[in-house]
Amino acid sequence: MFLPFEYDFFVRAIIAGTLVGALCGLIGVYVVLRRMAYIGHGLAHSIFGGAVVSYIMSINFFIGASLWGFLSAVLITFTSRKKNISTDSSIGIITTASFALGVALISRYSGFTRSFDAALFGNILGINALELYSVIFVVILVSIVVTLCYKYLLFTTFDPENSEYYGVHTGLLDGIFSLILAATVVVSLQILGVTMIAATIVIPPVIARMLTNDFNKMMVISVTTGAFCGLIGLYISFYLDISSGPAVVLFSSFLFILSLIYSAIKERLLFKREPHL
């Protein structure tokens, strides 16, 4: 069980995987409650385009991709405020266009050293010290932002239509949220891959929502579940020699099914206890 810890790359990957899982679980609570579950999927695709552009322009990956992701998220927010364009439509347009740009550039320019498979599905071998530090940095950043903006994020998530009337700067908060969401997706890309991020962001909070009606407990359950899925997913990835993204997602889905069964049984038991009227 502890054999893989003899490898430095695995130690780095397991720490990064657990942290990324927790991070996705944390940010996912807001994503799910804001009913924008598709945004993780979209942003990951968008950031892929940004990563390719950064590579071609010799800009640091983290800076270039984060900026690209942030701008995409802001663009999505502004476009979806137009009454006749829904959020899912604007995500579909903006992020797919960005992904298409990335794919087009890859086809046009040769000499990409990064593996296409790793970008799409994640790879634990690719976690170097810099990437681990980036994950730690973003975890600290997101934790600070979520703590300092706790009541404001709660209000804009619960009652976005009216929070402005109570003195909350919704535009500023949407911008801050877009920034931490983009940063989360950027640092999760290497481990989870473009195609797998959405499920990692969505599944832990959905499990948590099935288990509790309390926002704070939902945060704790979602973060814990996300971290646990990251940890076990990476173990599975190592032992079964499969990409890390699918391993994390499959394990999360397994937990989702378990919690679905649990909540169905609980509801049935509660229903049975109801007196017959």
Partner: protein, 271 residues
């Protein structure tokens, strides 16, 4: 009947005064050339069809619409510092009642503009929430999830949220829509009490007979102010027909005006 007679107000220092105000949303004129005085202690019903500008008028008072023409005076001044403390209660349908949040947390959100630098809700805010929930009769359900509440309790939660800062002016957007007769009666009596604690109330409503007819002052709105006064003066066939753009019949029962909607034009009914 909540008040026997309209308040004997003076125009010296109204809490809100609109002078020839035009209000726009996304460049479209929603309110046009509005002249209006709301005095301290007023309890006013805003009547009008959907899209007539009732919600916009409330939002204009809060300063959330564009006002290209005219002036708004708050407590006699045009500056923001004169703005009274305003409580706002939105339509119940604008709230996501399945959100994982408790009654207490929802009420606490009303204090969000206070202690802006403090990330969580302060002890003082929690004390204020406790007091207002006690006053509104929802203290026993304070730890409950909001989806577990009845329609009347949900209204009390939103009312508590809008009253937690002890506002001078309370703006209510259709507070009795979608609730049963008994609950509506409870809400109206609650508002009546609040009004008697020196809170000025402006309430948008669609309920002419059950709500507006029992208030001392009614404003009929349809982009402009069609009429402003006591129900007995305002509830006439001509005024209501002009307000709603549909034929409306008015009769009287024990001195109270009863307004009958006229489905499909009420062709045979005499006006």
């Amino acid at each position: 009947m909540l008040h026997e007679e309209p308040h004997k107000y003076t125009d010296n220092n109204p809490i809100v005064r609109f002078a020839d105000v035009t209000s726009t949303i996304s460049g479209k004129i929603v309110l046009d050339k509005i002249d209006l005085s709301i005095n301290r202690g007023d309890f006013v019903a805003l009547l009008g069809p959907s899209g007539s500008g009732k919600t916009t008028l409330l939002r204009t008072i809060m300063g959330f619409t564009n006002v290209p023409n005219g002036k708004i005076f708050m407590s006699g001044e045009t500056v923001d510092s004169a703005r009274p403390i305003i409580g706002y209660m939105p339509q119940m349908s604008s709230i996501n009642w399945s959100f994982p949040i408790t009654v207490e947390q929802t009420v606490l959100m009303g204090t969000i503009s206070k202690n802006k630098l403090y990330p969580w809700f302060s002890k003082r805010a929690k004390k204020a929430a406790f007091e207002i929930m006690e006053r509104m009769g929802i203290i026993d359900v304070r730890s409950n999830h909001v989806s577990e509440l009845s329609g009347g309790q949900k209204q009390r939660v939103l009312l508590s949220r809008s009253l937690i800062n002890n506002p001078h002016l309370l703006l209510l957007d259709e507070p009795t829509t979608g609730i049963d007769i008994k609950t509506r009666d409870e809400v109206m009596h609650l508002l009546h009490e609040v009004n008697h604690q020196d809170v000025t109330i402006i309430m948008a409503t669609h309920e002419i007979n059950a709500v507006a007819a029992h208030l001392p002052r009614v404003i009929c709105l349809n982009k402009n102010i069609i009429a402003d006064g006591a129900p007995k003066d305002v509830f006439t066939v001509d005024i209501l027909t002009e307000t709603y753009g549909a034929p409306i019949h008015v009769t009287r029962y024990k001195g109270l005006p009863i307004v009958a909607e006229s489905p499909h034009g009420f062709n045979g009914m005499k006006r």
